[in-house]
């Protein structure tokens, strides 16, 4: 049995910050939390000098790429970025090459990732072409099924909501969630055809606030009519759909949603400095939308904050027109410092941040024994210095995507270390673990 004693910790525990705590880790799990000195001999002692320990963050929306897209990001670089960003678990999206759309492509990813990962990883899939394959994917450990409402993607093909009834009901029986990128396919296609050369205005019109809202409303209306299924709305970017989602939850529908730091901290005005680099789907919105998202966080209408880490090369993000340029930003290494700065500014409380980045993700996606600091839970722990100052410097990123819309941003709240399955992967800001420490996760109870 390998044992590790962490002394001089301040821990976030059941809603409170408690100082002068010692943590005993045995075989990767938290064995003791105590105000006393741990006297028994242990293999290793680490002094955390009074830094704050929070539950390891869980990012439910990450594109790790890998395989044929390894030039953008691979399992080692992506999970290193996660570790240095304070995430002990990430869930990976299926729009890769090859795409994750059946058991064969699912296993391919698991095997490729397994030896390379520094943090825990779980995988989503597209809805498979053959719906009978859903149960086989569940046996392999899939965390959920992703649907892009506006684009034709690999896997199951659909033209309208009615086509989605059958797969939704099948997935609903299994208890796993469907993850939705809510947009309108008609609007997207029409605007694209009418503006073949594209423009920022056309891009915004194709992926507008009202598209997002109508899509959310349509799906909620559908949920009322079909057998129950859990729906998780990815990256909600404006306030109306947030309100609809909150109302639908109150009705008893099984719905959750996430927001991203870029939709919380950037707005249309950011295009002035970012140019076409700033394109992201859904696009940056008005300042009223940004306000609406923050209000949603304050009123507990938001369930998760996720990075939507979407690594591309800088060239892919800066050449071409708005229809073929690659959208999205790397986000694993900026989310936590930016959000800790918001905590320091009083925009959200520390307990809310922990809820949105670890407790809720673990609950919604059934990640058992993680997401909280509890005896018997895995020692997935993130060490932060709330007062430490940072300047976002993409040239230091572990991600292959060494760029960021937050380049040069300064604030307070630094990730100092992370423990994954009880092993120190990052200590005092330096790499201390090796690849393979992370595990491939399957949903729990």
């Amino acid at each position: 049995m390998k044992s590790l004693r962490l002394r001089n910790c301040k821990i976030f525990y059941r809603g409170s910050v408690i100082s002068d705590v010692e943590i005993l880790i045995e075989d990767g799990k938290i064995a003791r939390l105590t105000k006393l000195k741990i006297n028994r001999p242990v293999d290793e002692i680490i002094d955390l000098n009074g830094l704050l320990v929070i539950p390891g963050l869980i990012d439910v929306h990450v594109h790790l790429r890998g395989l044929n897209l390894a030039y953008k990001e691979d399992y080692d670089t992506g999970t290193l970025a996660a570790a240095f960003g304070g995430f002990s678990t990430v869930l990976d999206m299926p729009n890769t090459d090859p795409a994750t759309e059946n058991v064969e492509t699912f296993k391919l990813k698991v095997e490729a990732a397994k030896p390379k990962i520094y943090v825990n990883v779980g995988f989503y899939s597209f809805i498979p072409e053959k719906l009978t394959e859903i149960h086989r994917l569940i046996a392999e450990g899939v965390f959920g099924f992703k649907v892009f409402m506006h684009r034709v993607m690999p896997g199951y093909k659909f033209n309208d909501l009615e086509d989605l009834r059958k797969p939704f009901e099948t997935i609903g029986e299994t208890g796993l969630p469907v993850l939705v990128h809510a947009e309108k396919r008609e609007t997207y296609e029409t605007v694209k055809q009418e503006n073949p050369n594209g423009s920022l205005e056309a891009f915004e019109a194709a992926l507008s606030e009202s598209s997002e809202n109508e899509s959310v409303n349509g799906l909620i209306a559908m949920l009322r009519k079909i057998k129950p299924v859990k729906l998780h709305f990815c990256h909600i970017s404006s306030q109306l759909p947030l309100r609809r989602i909150a109302e639908a939850k109150a009705e008893g529908l099984s719905i959750t949603c996430e927001v991203t730091p870029h939709h919380l901290l950037l707005s249309k005005r950011s295009y002035e400095t970012l140019g076409i680099y700033g394109l992201v789907d859904p696009p940056l919105r008005s300042e009223a939308c940004v306000e609406g998202l923050w209000a949603g966080i304050r009123r507990s209408m938001v369930d998760c904050i996720a990075s939507d880490h979407a690594p591309h090369t800088f060239e892919e993000k800066s050449t071409g027109n708005v229809w073929n340029i690659k959208t999205g930003f790397p986000g694993l290494e900026t989310l936590l410092p930016l959000m800790l700065d918001c905590v320091n500014r009083g925009w959200l409380s520390l307990s809310k941040l922990v809820k949105l980045t670890s407790q809720n993700p673990a609950r919604i996606f059934r990640i058992a024994g993680r997401g909280s600091i509890e005896i018997g839970y895995w020692a997935d722990l993130t060490v932060v210095d709330l007062n430490g100052e940072f300047t976002i410097d993409p040239s230091k990123f572990k991600s292959k995507a060494m760029h960021s819309p937050f380049k040069g941003w300064r604030g307070r709240g630094v990730v100092k270390g992370i423990f994954v399955n009880g092993a120190p992967v990052v200590l005092d800001g330096e790499l201390s673990g090796r690849s393979g420490i992370g595990r491939i996760l399957k949903p729990g109870v």
Partner: protein
């Protein structure tokens, strides 16, 4: 017998076998005071300092104090995370210590009650700290066994459920190790009794780890049931496998001896079928009443009202 006046109660192991027996004896005597009101502790004030919610334990202590004519002040605060404030247990205890005669503390972290006892001049009673200690629960469990079975020596006692994380099971089995008893530990493999406790207990009394309750149900005098939390399992199939096998049903009770008793620290979820409540073996609600008596007796002894 030396006086218990001014003593802290942090761990059941802080008390000798003789002292524990003495507290249980006094509990018998104090029983009548729970019916007629008493002013044994008139003028005494007890602080309830709970850093985590626990309605049952809090009300039990409060009632115990009031039944003896004492007063209580409730310092339990809904804790909000505040990065600036943090938590300063030491200062809080120092402040409260000026106001009262005895402090009952409950804190989510192990060691916090011990720390409070070192700081406070007045006696401190541990109302539950961390996953390790809940000494008054162990006392009331012992008292329940003694009252219902009229002895502790010679009994066969089985613990069933989550033996790894249940603090009541840890404290009670350590306390029982001082008697002449036979213990069975029945749990799913991943929730087996903690090794250090197993070692301690098996050095003193006969202990056997068993997988199936049905193997021993006919011979036990006391069946002590705890809840299995599904969060403890990382795989749903593991949980489903064990779920039903540790639930107490009427079938089990039928196989049990007529004079056997079933105990549970409460709250219960579904590990004991509601139908079992009506059987003569079910003693878990009576256990709550005994808890009140034990706490009355402990307060009276520690505050020096009874010698």
């Amino acid at each position: 017998m030396p006086s218990l006046r001014g003593r802290d109660m942090i761990s059941i192991t802080d008390f000798t076998q003789e002292e524990i027996e003495y507290i249980l004896d006094k509990t018998d005597e104090i029983r009548k005071l729970s019916i007629e009101r008493s002013d044994l502790l008139k003028g005494k004030v007890m602080a309830i300092l709970f850093f985590e919610p626990s309605t049952r334990t809090r009300i039990s202590f409060e009632t115990a104090m009031k039944r003896l004519g004492g007063e209580t002040v409730d310092m339990s605060e809904p804790k909000r995370a505040s990065i600036e404030k943090g938590e300063n247990l030491t200062d809080t205890v120092r402040v409260i210590d000026n106001y009262v005669d005895v402090i009952v503390i409950r804190h989510p972290l192990e060691g916090s009650a011990r720390l409070a006892a070192e700081i406070a001049e007045n006696p401190v009673i541990n109302g539950g700290s961390g996953a390790e200690e809940h000494p008054t629960q162990a006392l009331l469990d012992l008292y329940t066994i003694r009252r219902e079975k009229e002895r502790i020596n010679g009994l066969t006692i089985a613990f069933v459920g989550d033996l790894k994380y249940s603090r009541t099971v840890h404290s009670l089995s350590v306390a029982l190790a001082n008697y002449n008893v036979k213990l069975y530990f029945i749990s799913p493999p991943i929730l087996k009794m903690r090794r250090e406790i197993l070692e301690y207990v098996s050095n003193k009394v006969s202990v056997e780890e068993v997988n199936d309750l049905n193997d021993v149900v006919e011979e036990v005098d006391v069946l002590y049931v705890t809840r299995i939390q599904k969060e403890r399992f990382s795989d749903i199939s593991d949980y489903m496998k064990v779920k039903g096998s540790y639930k107490i049903t009427l079938d089990h009770v039928k196989k049990m001896r007529e004079d056997a008793i079933i105990m549970h620290p409460l709250p219960r979820v579904d590990e004991i079928d509601y139908a079992v409540d009506q059987t003569p073996q079910a003693k878990y609600f009576k256990q709550v009443y005994y808890g009140l008596l034990v706490r009355m007796s402990l307060l009276a002894l520690i505050l020096g009202a009874v010698e």
